[in-house]
């Protein structure tokens, strides 16, 4: 049963289970077998294009995802433009942990764990601002914006022998940025951000690097809670054009996106998928709007500010032929760049949004959404794109409202006793072994695997292969 706002009672129960089931109890705690044995079976499922529903509703799996995915992978936390000056900070989450993303007095961007080393109280309680120090309200331990321990009351009498260097705020071992997008990894042994992004790095240049000054957020990020499993959002941003003409048909009905089939995976739909074994992927289009609009969807006055000679010849060729409708960088960073009309008489305005989803449980996550504009574009264009984005996406967007409803089904099925006893699996066979008009394109001259159409689910299967690899790696 899928309802607009339903399922909350059940979710409260599931959250309680999250607290009471420790990883040490994994053997008999969950119907359907121990977690390691269960994960060992999924490889075979994925090869057959199936996925057990338990993946979407099991609190033990969620706990393992926090440990093996969110505490290891590079996670997007903020835009450099949000913290331009020394001392500027914003509060952001990685999984369930809150970090102060701060540009320190030396200009270095850090991700400081927002917990006092004395008793764990929040040391920073405004979600954005500028500070030289963060002082805990409990016993007034104080830290510099570098995270270093800075002092405590009666220091010379109270902490005569304190090894101050050891008592700074805990911080993410790795913070790095690309095109103004700040990522952090909580894993000391993580690869570099460039290595982590792999072939996606090439496409980020072609998406964010069209002008020397790049993109900027328009307005503070929106934030809202969704009752769904975070992976539904990942796989949809990665590759799911198939649902667009059906679930989002109202966008055509009201004149927001005329010809919604063009956004789908059918014969009139988007161009193709590009994806990577690392679990990143994109939906590509070849321009939704006729000339004089640019392939990227931008009007001539904005496209005139692009300096494509900043790109390699191959990247330039790609930009002239393709634009990213969406991307998803494993595990939880998404982008959408499409045109939308905020009302039927308004011309379509292309917007770009960036999105993260931080899971709170197997059936709940918090979305954060940044709409981006080009620094080189006029305020008027960026404002119009902002309004177009708000009308279509986000908590109040008329398209996205419908996603939040259908997403509620997977975790409910995943928590169902009946579903587990039946061994119920979801179908990921679209485009598998000749099932549909969908093949890998051996002539694709750019990075990654490219499909010939978007009528397949190869990227989703690649996402879950990566997911499984991380989940099975202690």
């Amino acid at each position: 049963m899928v309802t607009a706002v339903g399922g909350r009672c059940e979710q409260i129960e599931v959250r309680r289970m999250t607290v009471s089931v420790s990883l040490d109890q994994r053997g008999g705690a969950t119907p359907g077998g121990g977690i390691d044995e269960f994960l060992a079976t999924i490889e075979t499922d994925l090869r057959q294009g199936t996925l057990p529903v338990r993946v979407f509703g099991d609190p033990e799996i969620y706990q393992l995802e926090l440990e093996r995915i969110f505490a290891k992978c590079w996670i997007f936390v903020a835009l450099e433009a949000e913290i331009p000056e020394p001392g500027d900070y914003v509060l952001r989450y990685i999984g369930r942990d809150q970090f102060i993303i701060v540009r320190d007095r030396d200009g270095v961007v850090r991700a400081l764990f927002n917990k006092c080393r004395h008793r764990g109280s929040q040391v920073c309680r405004s979600e954005r601002g500028t500070a030289t120090h963060f002082t805990c309200p409990y016993h007034a331990w104080s830290y510099k914006n570098t995270g270093e321990w800075s002092g405590a009351p009666y220091r010379t009498k109270a902490y005569k022998e304190l090894a101050a260097a050891e008592w700074g705020l805990a911080s993410a071992p790795h913070v790095d940025s690309v095109h103004g997008l700040i990522f952090a990894s909580l894993d000391a042994a993580a690869p570099t951000l460039d290595e982590y992004l792999g072939g996606m790095r090439w496409y980020l240049d072609a998406i964010f690097g069209l002008t020397p000054t790049g993109m900027k957020p328009i307005g503070r990020p929106q934030r809202w809670k969704v009752q769904a499993n975070w992976k539904s959002n990942s796989e949809q941003h990665m590759a799911d054009a198939y649902h667009v003409p059906f679930l989002h048909h109202s966008a055509e009905d009201v004149g927001m996106f005329p010809g919604i089939e063009r956004g789908g995976a059918g014969p009139e739909g988007v161009s193709r998928h590009v994806f990577f074994d690392e679990g990143h992927g994109m939906i590509l289009n070849q321009g939704y709007l006729p000339a004089p609009w640019h392939t990227t969807g931008y009007p001539p006055d904005v496209a005139a500010t692009f300096e494509l000679d900043r790109l390699s010849p191959e990247q330039r060729t790609w930009v002239e032929q393709y634009s990213a409708t969406t991307f998803m960088i494993f595990p939880n960073l998404g982008l959408v760049r499409v045109p939308s009309s905020p009302h039927p008489q308004a011309p379509p305005s292309v917007f770009t949004y960036l999105r993260t989803w931080q899971p709170l449980g197997p059936n709940e996550y918090v979305n954060s959404n940044w709409t981006l504009g080009w620094k080189s574009a006029s305020d008027q264009f960026n404002d119009e794109a902002y309004v177009a984005a708000l009308s279509m996406h986000g908590p109040t967007g008329i398209l996205e409202s419908d996603d939040t409803v259908v997403f509620q089904g997977a975790p409910n099925a995943g928590a169902s006793v009946f579903a587990r006893k039946q061994g119920l699996k979801f179908n990921y066979q679209l485009g598998l072994n000749g099932m549909s008009d969908y093949e890998l394109d051996p002539t694709w001259p750019f990075p990654g695997h490219a499909s010939t159409t978007a009528l397949g689910e190869a990227p989703q299967r690649a996402f879950y292969h990566r997911w499984l690899e991380e989940m099975r790696r202690p």
């Binding site: 706002v5 405004s126 307005g219 109202s250 009905d253 009201v254 905020p342 009302h343 409202s401 419908d402």
Partner: protein
């Protein structure tokens, strides 16, 4: 209206007639009833065609910086009459799955206060609590906030010309806001 909800219009609150205050209250109550009963076209008829409707983003800020909770930089909604018309049109499209089957809402509009009046327009603030449930579940959402409205006198009665919805939430409660506040 200014950030702390004081009026820019000429008449101080003390000069406002009870009749005006009761007409404004009646307008807001009727609007809530139309929305609770999904009479969206009736609701549209209460809007001025030059409507400006905003729902700004709210941040958590420490005491002393409360004026930066709504810093004017970021919105959940920035609407006009035309865009509201589109949202209403969608409700009748047969494809508005977020509201099909419809959620059940009860809006409680209270603390109505008329702050200023200049003959043509009246500034009114109010609080709202919107209860929303759906399906056969007993779970529900409670959306709370305050609104600063400008109501305009027209030949056919009051019309909503401007609204700022200040939510009591920094992280929105419902997964979708496919409703009107």
């Amino acid at each position: 209206l200014t950030a702390n909800l004081t009026s820019n219009l000429e008449s101080p609150a003390g000069d406002l007639s009870l009749e005006l205050q009761s007409r404004c209250a009646r307008f807001l109550h009727r609007e809530a009833r139309y929305l609770d009963h999904r009479q969206f076209n009736d609701w549209l008829s209460l809007l001025a065609e030059d409507l400006l409707y905003e729902m700004p983003i709210r941040l958590t800020m420490q005491a002393g910086a409360e004026d930066r909770e709504f810093d004017g930089n970021g919105f959940h909604m920035k609407e006009t009459y035309e865009s509201m018309k589109m949202r209403v049109h969608r409700m009748y499209s047969g494809h508005a799955y977020a509201e099909d089957p419809p959620s059940r809402t009860q809006r409680i509009v209270a603390n109505i206060d008329v702050l200023g009046h200049d003959g043509a327009e009246t500034e009114v603030v109010s609080n709202f609590l919107c209860y929303r449930s759906a399906g056969d579940d007993t779970a529900h959402d409670l959306i709370a906030g305050e609104r600063a409205d400008v109501l305009r006198e027209t030949a056919s009665g009051l019309r909503l010309a401007r609204r700022v919805v200040r939510l009591a939430h920094t992280t929105l409660v419902p997964p979708n806001m496919a409703l009107f506040l």
